[in-house]
Amino acid sequence: MAYFSGQEKTQNDFGASGVIMKNDELKKRLNAMPVPDPSKEAREKALHAAMAEFERLEKKDEKNIKGFSWFGRLKAKTFQRGPAMRKQLVYSVGLAFSLILVAIIIWPNFISYRKAASYKTMHKTAPAVKSAPPTLESGQAVKGKMPAADTIASAPVVKYARPPMETDWARQPAAPATGAAGSRKLALRAYSAEKEGRFSQPDQTYVGRDRFRTITANPVKLVRETPVSTFSIDVDTAAYAFVRRALHNGALPQKNAVRIEELINYFNYDYPGPGDRTVPFRATVGVFPTPWNPDTKLLHIGIKGFDIDPLKKPQANLVFLIDVSGSMKSPDKLPLLKNAFRMLVETLDPKDRVAIVVYAGAAGTVLEPTLVKEKGKIMAQLDRLSAGGSTAGGAGIRQAYALAEANFDPAGVNRVILATDGDFNVGIRNPEELKGFVERKRQTGVYLTVLGFGRGNYHDALMQTLAQNGNGIAAYIDTLNEARKVLVDEAHASLFPIAKDVKIQIEFNPAFVAEYRMIGYETRLLRREDFNNDRVDAGDVGAGHSVTAIYEITPAGSKGRRMDDLRYGRPEATTKIPMHANSAEYAFLKIRYKLPDAEESRLLTTPINSESEYQTLAKVPAEARFASAVAAFGQLLRGDPYLERFDYNDVITLAEKARGKDRFGYRAEFLNLVRLAKTARAMEDR
């Protein structure tokens, strides 16, 4: 081929000759080309198509690889390529390997941090985007008013559902990541933290891929500095079942799975119930010597709700929202779930209504709201449920609530019961949006129960959050017996709330109490001002339910003091003159609650004084003693450093003497668990 012969003339391959086009001419002509603006519709259409594809692929990935590590995630994504993309496979694999190195080192923290940053920054700069969490919108929808004059009224404008103390699982700082992305590593992280901790933790901890929020035990507080303790009651029982499962498998449960208040509240206590129906529950208080510490006392609060007359119970309008993803196949999941729901349906009245919505496998309504009169139809549909199938559409939680609302019975109880093994692909991908959705729906009067099944994928933190935000309870169903307990024996309590948003506030009297420590309820603490704020929601009490809370208090002048008085502080100046200076009160107890369909709260108060005191442990009612034994057990499992020499044997002794009637044998089972824990602990000591 002839090249440059000094002239611009050349021969080209096509036979014609001519000069070559000049660079600038070409540039000029091309640049001068007017490009018409794209139409707005086309732009939008392109954006939507791209977003739809993005979301479709995200869903597909999540469905296939939930619970996997980053490596698995990358690999699974790579190998989803179809035959047409095979030639890209080499690139993908090479890419995957190089990214894995990055992933192991940087990405988990990077992504979880960036995710936090992204919600913040993106929402600031793009307020029009539909997935921004609508907290203000839901705040405006609340019809509630502030409580009346006898209480300290505070007037915040922004509604917040959970106190900032609680680690919000969607917004995490980079380091101790417990959010959705970091929580995959949580189990390992908690485990290694334990090894480094001062309190020797057993090596035999059940780790798995189950995800729990990190909990640090409540610290001891000085009454002079923090005289007031405020918290929301909790009737969830998931932690107990989870601990039981771990122990039955021969291992001690991971520390973060042990929520002591849930262990204590697993049991139904025979506290005195309310005298009349004007108040839905009654609170009993007791002060007695601490079983594990001769220098302190326990302040025990027991609340008992009235049970519903079975003949007069309200109608139930239930929607079962069931996870049918592939992972639900194992016998301790969907099959157990089906049995559990069958048992529940058997306890319902012919006039009650049941609907079934499935997600994460097939999707959508598989049973329209049906009267229990047609029990056969309901059971047949339950039988037909099977795990696996293609990716869900967008149905799921929205559909479930829609059905509950469509048949909303103002005089009855309307509830969505979500059953899952940890897959929350319920049709709202964004965790913040899911939480916000559940919060908004709470105001429509539809309650939520979250039932966890199985192991290895159990997303406890998310379950708890949804239940808390959605006016509901969370329970973990590991056996048929547990299913029976939650859905049959305690059906009334599980289904029918008698009081909602129940908050407790205690003010300790510095004249008699120097220090206090709340046992459990770390994830339920409220700010002091939240107590009077009706917009701050709290736990519910179910019919026939009992709720227990225990503080360990150090009486003034006791040698059990853990903290010295301030050298430079002036104790007299910092305490105001107690209101009831002449009566010997340990503390003052206030309880706020709302009737199930009310927006305004009501207040109960009672002083805690020597009338509630028992001088020796033997005189204390069995129920309170048993609760203390469970509290001790929980603290031992967690390795909390307040138990001195109290050990599992002491727990057994204390509990055995307080077994009471034990109609269903739950307390006997508890004793077995303590023995199992003792063995597990001994084995690691060897």
């Binding site: 080209n12 070559i20 091309l30 086309a42 259409k45 979301e55």
Partner: protein
């Protein structure tokens, strides 16, 4: 730097952040559309190509190796998509250019009439083999250097220069023949 922002958005998107992905799309839509338009010469086609490019972006995001800048990679996808698109619409395009050809013959105004000029240029560009066309559009349409264009097209710089050389020859011929 722009590319850093792009990389950030890509990483966030890969982490599942839909908003980040939306930002990414909005950011680059116009560029993709304009290149598509210059490739095919018709607004509706360009819009279709652009849409297809961003859907592909969602699919291929995981493959972005960061060996090149994001924009380079996106250009590459655009050119490939445009090529495929044209191939699919070959018949349709044939009619259009024929019609355009007819127009210029029956209405031969002065050679510097922009409208005619554009049509002619499109026709001429269309007649180029796709690789030469790509090189020309990137270098002269988008103002890239040969080196940058080479990165987009995944070929050596010298190849780009060669293709441009060939293209310039051919274009001159075609344009001369049109008049």
């Amino acid at each position: 730097m722009d590319n850093n922002n792009d990389i950030e958005l890509v990483q966030l998107s890969l982490g599942g952040d839909a908003l980040a992905f939306e930002h990414l799309v909005k950011r680059h839509y116009l560029t993709v559309y304009r290149l598509s338009y210059k490739w095919c010469g018709a607004k509706e086609d360009a819009e279709d190509i652009a849409q297809e490019v961003f859907v592909k972006l969602a699919q291929k995001l995981k493959l972005f190796g960061r060996r090149s800048s994001f924009k380079t990679w996106l250009y590459r996808i655009t050119i490939n998509t445009a090529k495929d698109f044209i191939r699919k619409c070959a018949t349709k395009r044939g009619y259009e250019t024929a019609f355009a050809g007819q127009q210029s013959i029956t209405n031969p105004g002065p050679p510097l009439d922009d409208h005619l000029d554009v049509r002619q240029l499109y026709k001429a560009l269309d007649n180029l083999p796709a690789r030469q066309k790509a090189a020309v559009l990137l270098v002269f349409g988008e103002g890239m250097s040969h080196k940058e264009a080479a990165r987009v097209l995944n070929c050596p710089e010298a190849t780009v220069s060669w293709r441009i050389f060939q293209a310039r020859k051919k274009l001159k011929t075609t344009l001369e023949h049109q008049v």
